[in-house]
C-alpha cells in the first residue's frame, strides 16, 4: 500500500504507541502530520535533545501577536512520536494542515465585530491557567479555539472544543459544529464517558485497529453536520497529498481520526481548489517553540483536545508492565514526600481494590478512575486534600518542557519592543531617572507600561519616592534594564502574548490566590495604576470573596476609605471606577452586620483602634454621597449606642458622631454626657467616654460653639457636691489638651460669645510652620 492513514486521538498514548509500531512496519519515505505548514522549519529542532516536551508550537501574526495559537505536544502525543521517529530515521516530515496565515485572514471578516473581545480571549491561552475558573463563562467559546492541538490535537477528533476558530474569538458554539464523534462512538458502546471508551478500546489494547476506527469515524461523520471550516482544511490536506504523491511513494499520514474519511474520499483537485480559493490572502505569521507544562495541557477550559490527566497518559506511555502497581507506588511516594505515612501494605490493598473495581465495572484493566478511587479509599484514607495532591502531582503532573536557546523569540517580547518604541523609552543597562507628568498622554502610557511590567516581575522601573514639591500627577522612576528580564519575559509569556494581557492574567491569578483583604486591595490599586481594566472584575470578585471570609470587621473597615476616595474623586489616570462603588456597598453591608458583635468586650487599645476605623468609615460614607447608605450606617451606629456593654471610648465617640449628624439632639447628647459621668459609671469608663466624645482635641471646643455650650451647660448643672467627683475625670481628658488650647477654652468660657474675636490665640511657632506652604502657593516669599 503506497500510503497509509493513521487516524489518531490527539494526546492519546495508545495511539502514539500504535503509530510508532505502524511506522516501523511501513517505513514510509515521507511523513505528513496535521499541523501548520509554516512551522515546517521548526521540525528540525525535534532532533535536538534539548527540546524536551511538553512543548508547544506557538504561531502568531507578525503584525499582531495577539492573534496567536498554540499547538502543544507531549511525549505521548502521537504526532510528537511520529515526528521524532521520522527525524531519527531521516524521513522528511511535512505539516499539511491549512496554513495558519490562511486561517488568520480567512476568518477576519467574521471576527471584526468581536474585536473588543479579543484581548481577553487571545491573551488567555496561558492566562487561562490561573484565571480559568472565573473566566469560563465569557471565554468558553474562544478559548478552546485558539489552542490547537498539534493539528488541533483532538481538536479535530473532538470537534466541539475545536481548534477551528483559530485564534479568533468566534461566537461560542456555532450551530454548524458537528457533534462530538468520540462521544457518539462511546455512547454506542454503552459508555457514558468518552474518555473511558477511548481508554478501554484503544489505549488499553496494544493494537488499536486504525481501520476499525476509520470505519467508525466514517459512520459518525456520515450522520454529523460538517463544519465548513473543516472542509476547507481537509481540501488543503488533500491538495498537499496530491503533490506529495507525485514525488513520493510510501506515504504515512498522521492526523486526527476525524479527518481520515475525508482524506480518503475521492474528490477532484478542481473541487478542492474551488474550496480553497476564498482564502488565498496570506498574512505574515511567525512560529516558535515555547515550553509547555502538563498543568496547562490539562487546564484548558473548553478545549476539546485538552486531556485531564497528562501525568497518567505519560505513565501509560512510558510504562510497559505493571501499570497499576507502579502508578500506586508513585502515588505512595508523593504522599510520603509530604510526610504522610504510606506503607507497602497500603499499596497492596490499593492495587487489589483497583483491580476489584475494574472487574466490577467490567473493564479489561484498571484505568485512571479505578486507581483514583483506590488511592482515595486506601492510600489517602478518604482525605480529599491528599487525593488532590496526587491529582496535582501525578495525574496532571508538574512536568515543564524545555526549549533550547536559539529558537526564535516569543510574542510577548515582540510586543514589549513595540510598546517601548511607541512610548519612546529605550531599554538601557544604565540607571536612568524618569520624571513623568501623568497629565500628558505619552507619560501616562509610559507609567502604565512600567506598572504592567512590574506586575510581570520585570521591574525595569522602580518607583522613586516623590520629592516634596510634586503633586499627585507626578511620578518618578529609576529605570534600569537587566539581562535576566528577557528570561522573565519568556516565563511571563505563558500568561499572555502581550504585556497588557499577561499583566492582566498575572493580576487576576494573584487576586485568586490572595488570602487577605489587604493583598486584594493592593491589587485593585495595581489595576488602576497599571491600567488593567480587564483584571478588575477578577480582583473585585476576589475582594468580595475575601471580604466575605474575613471575620475581622476592622479589616473590612480598613479597606473602605481608600475605595471610597477612589469612587468619589476618581484618579488622575482617568480610570473608570463604577464597579468599585458596588464593592464598597458590599463591604459596607458586611460591616453593618458584623460591627455590632465586634464592638463588645474590647480592650482599651482595641477600642481605640475600632474608634479610628469607625471615624474613617464615617468619613468615607459621607464621601460616597449616597443618602441610603448614610442612613443605614447611622442606623447601625444608633443601634450600637443603645448597648450598655459598649466601651466608653466608643460610646462617647458614637454619641458625638450622631450628634454631629443630627441624629441626636443637643439635649440628648447632654443627657448622655451627664449619664456617663455619674457615680454609677466606673471612673475609667467615664473618662474614656469624655475622651471619645471630645476627640479632636481642644481646638474643636474652641471653635464649635454648640459643643462648647453643651459641655459648659452640663458642667454648670452639676451640683456642687458632685463636682468634686467628676473633676478628676474631666482633668484626665482636658489634661491632654495643649496649653494654648486649654487657655483658649478658658478664655472663651470666661468671655462668653462676645469675646470671640479676642479668643484668637496666636501660636507663633505653629503658624510659622505653615509659611513655606503659603509661600509655595502664592508664589512669593513670605517672612
Amino acid at each position: 500500500m503506497p500510503e497509509r492513514y493513521y487516524g489518531i486521538r490527539h494526546h492519546g498514548p495508545g495511539s502514539a504507541r500504535a503509530v510508532l509500531r505502524a511506522l516501523e512496519e511501513q517505513r514510509p519515505d515521507i511523513l505528513l502530520v496535521e499541523g501548520p505548514p509554516e512551522a515546517d522549519d521548526l521540525i528540525a529542532w525535534a532532533a535536538d535533545d534539548r527540546l524536551q516536551p511538553p512543548v508547544a508550537l506557538l504561531g502568531y501574526a507578525a503584525d499582531n501577536p495577539r492573534r496567536a495559537a498554540f499547538w502543544p505536544f507531549a511525549v505521548f502525543s502521537p504526532e510528537w512520536q511520529a515526528i521524532k521517529w521520522a527525524v531519527a530515521n531521516g524521513v522528511p516530515v511535512r505539516f499539511f494542515d491549512l496554513p495558519f496565515a490562511h486561517r488568520l485572514t480567512s476568518r477576519k471578516p467574521t471576527t471584526n465585530d468581536h474585536t473588543p473581545a479579543e484581548v481577553p480571549t487571545l491573551d488567555s491561552p496561558a492566562g487561562r491557567e490561573p484565571a480559568a475558573p472565573e473566566a469560563k463563562p465569557d471565554r468558553a467559546g474562544g478559548d478552546g479555539s485558539e489552542t490547537n492541538g498539534p493539528g488541533g490535537p483532538a481538536a479535530d477528533s473532538d470537534p466541539d472544543g475545536l481548534d477551528d476558530d483559530g485564534p479568533m474569538p468566534g461566537p461560542p458554539a456555532p450551530e454548524l459544529r458537528p457533534v462530538d464523534p468520540i462521544g457518539e462512538l462511546a455512547a454506542a458502546a454503552g459508555y457514558d464517558d468518552p474518555e473511558r471508551w477511548w481508554e478501554d478500546v484503544v489505549e488499553h489494547r496494544q493494537a488499536p485497529a486504525f481501520e476499525a476506527i476509520e470505519e467508525a469515524m466514517t459512520e459518525v461523520r456520515a450522520g454529523a453536520l460538517e463544519d465548513p471550516y473543516d472542509l476547507v482544511r481537509e481540501a488543503h490536506m488533500r491538495t498537499v497529498l496530491r503533490q506529495v504523491r507525485r514525488t513520493h511513494n510510501e506515504i504515512a499520514v498522521v492526523c486526527g481520526a476525524w479527518h481520515v474519511p475525508a482524506l480518503r474520499a475521492k474528490v477532484t483537485a478542481a473541487h478542492d481548489a474551488a474550496l480553497l480559493k476564498g482564502g488565498k490572502r496570506r498574512g505574515k505569521v511567525r512560529f516558535t517553540w515555547v515550553p509547555w507544562t502538563y498543568g496547562r495541557l490539562a487546564s484548558w477550559q473548553g478545549y476539546g483536545a485538552g486531556v485531564d490527566s497528562p501525568g497518567w497518559y505519560h505513565h501509560l506511555f512510558t510504562t510497559t508492565d505493571e501499570v497499576v502497581p507502579r502508578w500506586l507506588v508513585g502515588a505512595a511516594g508523593v504522599l510520603r514526600d509530604e510526610g504522610v505515612d504510606t506503607s507497602p501494605a497500603h499499596v497492596i490493598e490499593a492495587t487489589r481494590l483497583a483491580e476489584a473495581l475494574a472487574t466490577m465495572r467490567g473493564r479489561p484493566l484498571a484505568g485512571l478512575a479505578e486507581v483514583t478511587d483506590a488511592s482515595g479509599a486506601v492510600l489517602c484514607e478518604g482525605d480529599d486534600l491528599r487525593l488532590q495532591l496526587i491529582g496535582r502531582k501525578l495525574v496532571v503532573g508538574e512536568r515543564l518542557g524545555e526549549v533550547p536557546e536559539g529558537v526564535p523569540t516569543v510574542p510577548l517580547a515582540r510586543d514589549l519592543e513595540a510598546r517601548q518604541r511607541a512610548a519612546r523609552l529605550k531599554p538601557s543597562a544604565l540607571d536612568r531617572a524618569l520624571d513623568l507628568d501623568l497629565r500628558k498622554d505619552t507619560d501616562l502610557a509610559r507609567s502604565h507600561l512600567l506598572h504592567q511590567l512590574r506586575c510581570l516581575d520585570v521591574p525595569w522601573g522602580e518607583p522613586e519616592e516623590r520629592r516634596g514639591s510634586t503633586g499627585t500627577f507626578r511620578e518618578e522612576w529609576a529605570l534600569r534594564w537587566q539581562p535576566e528580564f528577557s528570561i522573565r519575559l519568556v516565563e511571563a509569556s505563558g500568561y499572555g502574548t502581550t504585556v497588557v494581557g499577561a499583566a492582566t492574567a498575572q493580576v487576576s491569578a494573584a487576586a485568586a490566590k490572595a488570602t487577605t483583604l489587604a493583598e486584594v486591595t493592593a491589587l485593585l490599586e495595581t489595576c488602576l495604576l497599571a491600567d488593567l481594566p480587564l483584571a478588575r472584575p477578577a480582583v473585585l470578585r476576589a475582594l468580595d470573596a475575601r471580604a466575605a471570609e474575613d471575620a475581622d470587621v476592622t479589616h473590612l473597615m480598613a479597606a473602605i476609605p481608600a475605595l471610597a476616595r477612589t469612587v468619589r474623586y476618581g484618579d488622575v489616570r482617568r480610570s473608570d471606577v463604577a464597579a468599585v462603588a458596588a464593592v464598597v456597598k458590599g463591604l459596607l453591608a458586611r460591616v453593618y452586620a458584623a460591627l455590632p458583635p465586634a464592638a463588645s468586650g474590647l480592650s482599651d487599645e482595641a477600642a481605640a483602634g475600632l474608634r479610628d476605623h469607625i471615624d474613617a468609615v464615617h468619613t468615607a460614607v459621607a464621601l460616597l454621597g449616597d443618602d441610603a447608605e448614610r442612613t443605614r450606617w447611622l442606623d447601625t451606629l444608633t443601634a450600637l449606642t443603645t448597648r450598655d456593654d459598649l466601651h466608653g471610648l466608643l460610646a462617647g465617640r458614637l454619641t458625638r458622631l450622631l450628634h454631629d449628624a443630627g441624629r441626636l439632639s443637643t439635649r440628648d447628647a447632654g443627657l448622655r454626657l451627664g449619664r456617663a459621668l455619674t457615680a454609677g459609671v466606673p471612673a475609667a469608663t467615664g473618662a474614656a467616654w469624655v475622651e471619645g466624645f471630645l476627640a479632636g482635641g481642644g481646638l474643636l471646643l474652641m471653635h464649635d460653639d454648640s459643643l462648647l455650650s453643651l459641655v459648659d451647660d452640663w458642667l454648670a448643672a452639676i451640683p456642687a457636691d458632685a463636682f468634686t467627683e467628676v473633676l478628676p475625670l474631666l482633668r484626665r481628658t482636658f489634661g491632654t489638651f495643649a496649653t494654648g488650647e486649654r487657655r483658649g477654652i478658658g478664655e472663651r468660657v470666661a468671655g462668653g460669645g462676645a469675646t470671640r474675636t479676642a479668643t484668637a490665640v496666636l501660636d507663633h511657632d505653629t503658624a510659622a510652620l505653615s509659611l513655606p506652604t503659603l509661600s509655595a502657593l502664592l508664589g512669593r516669599r513670605i517672612e
Binding site: L353, A356, A377, V378, C380, D544, A548, A593
Partner: protein, 353 residues
C-alpha cells in the same frame, strides 16, 4: 408490621428477592447477591428497585468492591450524609441481616466487640462455651455475615483496638477456653465515623490501615438534594401518619437553597461569597426542617407549607453558636435573601423568627 421502623432487609424484602432471582453474576463466598446487584440495590434501577442512596455511583462501587476484596469499610462523613443508612443497606443486601450492630459510645466496653460472660453460668459451671455471651461482631464471624460498628470514633481507643486482630487475622482468640473463633467466609465489618466532631478518639494508624475509607459527601447538585429531601420527607410523613399537607415544592427548594448556600459558603449563582455557620447544614437537617414545617402546617396551620413554617426551623438549624452564627445568618439575610426576588415572605418570616 407495627415496628416504628422495620429493618432494611424486612422493608425491602421483595426487592432483595427480585434481585437475587435475576442475579446470575458470580457472588463472593458468603454473599447473598453479586457486587453488581448490591450496587443496583443501593442506587435503584429506575424501575422496581427504588434508590436507597442518591449520589455518586463510583462511591458505592468503591464501597462494595472494598467489601468484596475482604477489606473492612469505613464510611466517613459529616453528620447527616447517610452513613448509617448506607451501612444498614449494605449489610442487608450482602448478608441479609443488618442487625449485627454495635453502637459506639464513649462507654462502649470491650465486651461489645469481643465477648462477655453470663456470670451466673460462669459461677455455676465454670468457663464453658455455653457461658460465653457473643458480641454482634463475634456472631457475625461465626455466621459469615456483616457486622456494623456505628460511630467508631466515639469508642475509647483501647476498645477500638480490639478490632485489629479481628480484621487482620480474621480470628478471635478466647484464651479463657483455650480456643478461638475463626471468621467464616462472608464476614466483614462496616464502621461509620463522623469526621466533623472534635474531641473524638482518632483511630490508631494500625486500625486505620485495615479499613478502606469512603467519604460520603454532601449532595453534589441542587437537584440531587431536592430529590433526596422530597423523597425522604414523603417517606417520613407516611410513616409518622402526618395529616396530608400540600407539600410545597417551592418551599422545599427554598430550604435546600438556604442549606446549600450556607454550607458551600457561596450563593448558587456563585456571585456572592458567604460565611458558613458552625453547624454542618446537612441534608438530614434539611429533611427534618421540612418535616417539622409540615407538622406545623398540618396541626397548627392551614395545611399548606409556608415560609413561616420552615423559617424558625431553619434559624434553629443555622444558629448553633449563638454569637458567631447569628452574624452569619444576619449577613446572609441582609445580603442575599433580602434582595432575592420572590423571597420577601421568607425574609420577613426569617427576620421575625
Amino acid at each position: 408490621m407495627t415496628a416504628l421502623r422495620p429493618h432494611a432487609e424486612e422493608f425491602y424484602a421483595e426487592e432483595l428477592a427480585a434481585l437475587a432471582a435475576d442475579d446470575d453474576r458470580p457472588r463472593p463466598p458468603g454473599w447473598r447477591l453479586s457486587p453488581q446487584a448490591v450496587v443496583t440495590y443501593l442506587l435503584g434501577d429506575g424501575g422496581k428497585i427504588t434508590p436507597k442512596y442518591v449520589g455518586s455511583r463510583r462511591l458505592m462501587e468503591v464501597a462494595v468492591a472494598t467489601l468484596a476484596t475482604d477489606r473492612a469499610l469505613l464510611l466517613l462523613g459529616v453528620p447527616g450524609t447517610a452513613k448509617t443508612w448506607v451501612s444498614e443497606h449494605l449489610a442487608a443486601a450482602i448478608s441479609g441481616d443488618s442487625t449485627l450492630l454495635v453502637q459506639g459510645t464513649a462507654g462502649t466496653p470491650e465486651e461489645a466487640i469481643r465477648y462477655g460472660w453470663n456470670y451466673a453460668r460462669l459461677l455455676a459451671e465454670g468457663p464453658s462455651p455455653a457461658a460465653l455471651v457473643p458480641s454482634p461482631v463475634l456472631r457475625a464471624m461465626e455466621t459469615g455475615a456483616i457486622a456494623r460498628v456505628e460511630e467508631l470514633t466515639r469508642v475509647p481507643s483501647d476498645v477500638q483496638d480490639a478490632l485489629i486482630t479481628i480484621l487482620s487475622e480474621k480470628t478471635l482468640p478466647v484464651p479463657e477456653l483455650n480456643t478461638e473463633v475463626q471468621a467464616q467466609r462472608g464476614f466483614n465489618v462496616i464502621a461509620t465515623a463522623n469526621d466533623r466532631d472534635r474531641g473524638v478518639n482518632e483511630l490508631s494508624s494500625a486500625l486505620r490501615r485495615r479499613f478502606n475509607t469512603v467519604v460520603l459527601p454532601v449532595p453534589a447538585t441542587f437537584d440531587e438534594e431536592i430529590d433526596i429531601v422530597t423523597r425522604r420527607v414523603a417517606q417520613l410523613g407516611r410513616s409518622l401518619d402526618l395529616p396530608e399537607t400540600t407539600t410545597a415544592l417551592d418551599e422545599i427548594r427554598r430550604v435546600v437553597t438556604v442549606f446549600r448556600e450556607l454550607r458551600d459558603g457561596q450563593t448558587d449563582d456563585a456571585r456572592t461569597k458567604l460565611k458558613s455557620p458552625t453547624g454542618t447544614m446537612s441534608t438530614a437537617e434539611a429533611i427534618s426542617v421540612v418535616t417539622n414545617g409540615m407538622a406545623l402546617a398540618a396541626h397548627f396551620g392551614d395545611g399548606v407549607l409556608r415560609a413561616g413554617d420552615v423559617a424558625s426551623g431553619i434559624v434553629g438549624a443555622v444558629i448553633k453558636d449563638p454569637v458567631s452564627d447569628r452574624v452569619v445568618w444576619r449577613e446572609y439575610l441582609e445580603t442575599v435573601v433580602r434582595e432575592r426576588p420572590g423571597w420577601a415572605d421568607f425574609y420577613r418570616a426569617a427576620r421575625d423568627a
